[in-house]
Amino acid sequence: MSFPIQVRLFRLCRGSTVGSQEDRLDDKPDNAPVNALETLPGDLIMWVLIVSELLVFGAGLAAFLSVRITDPSGFSLAQARLSPTLAGINTIVLITSGFLAARALNLRLQARRSAARWHLAGAGALGAVFMALKVDEYLEKAGEGISTETHPFFTFYYLLTGFHAAHILAGMVILALVAWKDDPGDMETGTAFWHMVDLVWVLLFPVIYLLG
């Protein structure tokens, strides 16, 4: 049987092969050495995505603080135009959403499918609340005449929070899909995406809104 190269590479990384039956991972003896990648919980490709996203946002935040070195007072004045309290409320909303997503997976693994779906719906709804507060924040800034051109602080602010918001929207769609087709493996991958968005926010929030 022929497999695309991506599938072959993926399976190779997981320690399995696409070859004959006797080559397969399942046939390894119990005391065979474990591939380090096999110890990662969930889907390997999701971890590749998580590390990639951390690198992208991590580079963005480091660039933000690097540019700040050239104009710390300007960055401080620009940051004073943001509301750390509102961003803190949004952090609580997102963290609670992640909590519901984590509980949804636990419930699904206990075969409590309906409860799992309701928890995912709650997680998605809180994602919508996060987006509503974010849009309100953007509209307020637009009303004050603040754009990406106003100051380098706001260029990074719109770029990083906007890119993160795009991930929230994608995550809401993914949560809806795994609530509908509630295979446990898919749900684990879908909720991992949501936790990744959560993880990025807990690094982004203090740097953009609090450090000043």
Partner: protein, 90 residues
């Protein structure tokens, strides 16, 4: 006492987030911007650890969890260095 690890992680994240905002709003005046910045980044690192361990399930893979903790810890130290750099350059 909360026995469920997921709920305990959520409470920890809530407390750390609240503490971050509190330090940002009052810390600069109380004990200086540098200490406030260090505390805020310390809390961010602790929150990232909780999400990785409890929500993303790395508690089941201690070697990976330790690796992520180290890298994120070093990254937060880099951010702290960049944050404090203007004070040293001046």
């Amino acid at each position: 006492m909360i026995h469920d690890a997921t709920t305990r992680a959520w409470v920890t994240l809530m407390v750390l987030s609240g503490a971050s905002v509190l330090v940002a709003l009052t810390g600069g005046a109380s004990f200086g911007g540098s200490v406030a910045g260090a505390l805020i980044l310390l809390f961010a690192w602790m929150k990232a650890r909780v999400i990785l361990a409890r929500y993303l399930g790395l508690w089941r893979a201690p070697a990976w969890l330790s690796g992520f903790n180290w890298v994120l810890g070093l990254y937060c130290m880099l951010l702290l260095g960049l944050f404090l750099a203007p004070d040293f350059i001046r």
